[in-house]
Symmetry: none
Subunit: 222 residues, 4 copies
DNA sequence: GATGAATGAGCATTCATTCAT
DNA sequence: TATGAATGAATGCTCATTCAT
């Protein structure tokens, strides 16, 4: 996925692997018109190929959407995995996770739009299709929270699966409202606010944002 | 909207105001099949009326979806407004807000499904249509957070508009994953976990869930 | 049919026999929108009555069109019959016929429009329905031409049925193009030109239009 | 356009350019059922193609009618132009014009039926659409009459535009009533009668059809 | 592989007509 | 008589998918 993915304009692409060109074109077209309003022929001409050629690479229109979902969820999953791996402690891992997710949306707005808006509509996708990449994504978040609890860094009065989902929902909504808004605030700032609130709520010892803190020690006193 | 709204089965209804019957039928049908897959005639027969009669009450299929959105956003908005009004302090208001939203989804699962899944798809709705009820909903949340900050109860290092959106995203995702899951955990429990995390992250003095706390006093020391 | 028949505007009528009000409204509406594009409810509201009431007076939408046709063909037939009866000789009768037809169109343009344009479309009307009034109209013209031939005033080298039809076609087209045109020339002038050409072509001794003529005297010679 | 165009039966055609096949099928179907009663799928199956294929060649059902009109008006226009060009004098040109028009109707009765009956109905066609071919047709007739007047062959007491329209109306009606009638008289005879009447009425010196006459001499006396 | 003409199932919407009041 | 809410049959057009070239 090259940088021109984020262009909402849809001129024919003439280089690169065909399957990838179709996916790139599809992101743009789906983001512009929405999945249902988008025609397969729109995607084809944006990709600079014939309509029929689409079907040499994808089983159906919906298969394009699913592939798109998998492709981007993998990117997000690996992005957040990387960000988490770089950090030794739970605090850093959560910050990395949030930043990773949210800043990928900043880098690829059209993709973010498709993921947040269009994906919820396809009954097949949401109801029947179980995405491996999405599960990997959720799993790494759940695991991180659970480990934090085991290590005593995070409180034990929440269920990791619930909170992981809530965090995902918050991040997803952030990405959505950000792509929809006109005046876009830097995602790094948004990510920091979210991190502080979530970590503050999840941790035994909440961070004190920028200021130095004495409280942690005391906090552990029951 | 009576309790049978939540039935996913679609036997013809034979009583009540016709416009309302259409809306009730539409929730069921849209939840079952998804908005795009649902046919107008499905809605009509679920409502026990002729296809053409739909158009005496709604301009188009999409108008049904919009009406549905408004109807339920108003319910959610008034539900959370009520729950907040009953509580004097920010803590109680936030808890009421979260519980109000999430438990309405528990009571009306099909409606929740339509709101969380189907509504994101209609380009008109999300992109062009600006819902008064949704804005009222967001506004009350933003205001509550802002007041909490002014009162010194909440930290000042977050922007109410950002966090309000994040909370909404989390609640929306909770409603979505809850309606999708097989074994449904009581929403009250989920709500409590979310409340504690969010309030813990937002407040100057985080709650200590069940246990007694000494920390608050100390927390205010910079 | 009162003079406001010719108004293309369609405000509700509130007086007069209901059946007649429906016909008056129908002429206006059909002339404005065309028969197929016109809704029965348009006619009803232009007539100031409820939709269903139409069906107390007419069997169907098409029945309105047929009644309209009969009503106006009778008017045209009686108009031209009157004009012919006032004249003793073939020449005068033909002039009366032409003037009668064409000037009725001038007086009732919307009716003329419906008769010339809309009537040809209804397959039932043209193909299955045989109008008594239209036949009466054609018959009087055929008879007049035949009598002219028997009297030796008109040439014998044409078939009255053929020429009657041709004259009707010419007059019908005159009415049509007149109602369609912006700058409308007085029908009296048009009628005179048509009369002179037709009579000139049909008569043993053609008229000499504006110039002084000696021929009239001769015309009467068998 | 091959000769089977005139068959009113509508068996699927399997050869020839597809656009032309659609037009041929449409003439038959429209003549049989009328434009409004005809379904697009009727035309498609008569043309031996799928419904959707129609829309690869025509924008809409109405576009077929318009194309039909243009196609046939061009044929008529070129037919009468040819017939007129072959004749040196006004008399011969008028005869050629009348014969050309009327005998084309004899050769292509279904097309004649569609042109005379169905075309008046489409509001777009008659009211909004201005046909180039129809104007060319009328123009050549008007010019011929005007030239006749300038040359002193035709009388000057008529307006070419008016009489051209009247002649067209007469010919159109001839075509219509001929296609509607059971026992069809040869169009050549009809054409001759019309020619004699019209030329007799238009000319300074009318033709003396078959029999010798003495009147002409007298006629010329002012 | 690539094409793009052809396919034909599918559906929102209209509107003449009915009938309970 | 008069109403007008309700009906439901009818259809032009779209567009994902196929397949002969």
């Amino acid at each position: 996925m090259t940088s021109h993915t984020s262009k909402s304009e849809s001129r024919p692409r003439t280089s690169g692997d065909k399957r990838e060109r179709i996916l790139e074109a599809a992101v743009d077209i789906f983001a512009q018109k929405g999945y249902y309003a988008a025609r397969v022929s729109d995607v084809a001409s944006a990709a600079g190929i014939a309509d029929g050629t689409i079907y040499l690479y994808f089983k159906s229109k919906e298969a394009i959407l699913i592939s798109l979902f998998e492709y981007w969820m993998e990117r997000i999953a690996s992005e957040v995995a990387l960000a988490m791996d770089e950090q030794p402690d739970t605090s850093g891992k959560l910050r990395g996770f949030i930043r990773g997710h949210v800043m990928l949306a900043e880098r690829y707005p059209t993709a973010a739009q498709v993921l947040t808006v269009e994906l919820r509509q396809s009954s097949k996708l949401i109801r029947e299709y179980r995405s491996p990449a999405f599960h990997a994504y959720m799993h790494s978040l759940v695991e991180m929270l659970a480990r934090g609890q085991r290590d005593g860094v995070l409180r034990s009065n929440f269920e990791p699966r619930i909170l992981a989902r809530a965090i995902f929902g918050a991040l997803d909504e952030m990405a959505l409202s950000w792509t929809m808004s006109k005046k876009r605030q830097p995602m790094a700032e948004i990510a920091e606010q979210l991190f502080e609130v979530f970590y503050g709520g999840l941790a035994q010892t909440p961070v004190q944002s920028t200021a130095s803190r004495l409280t942690p020690v005391i906090e552990n006193i029951p």
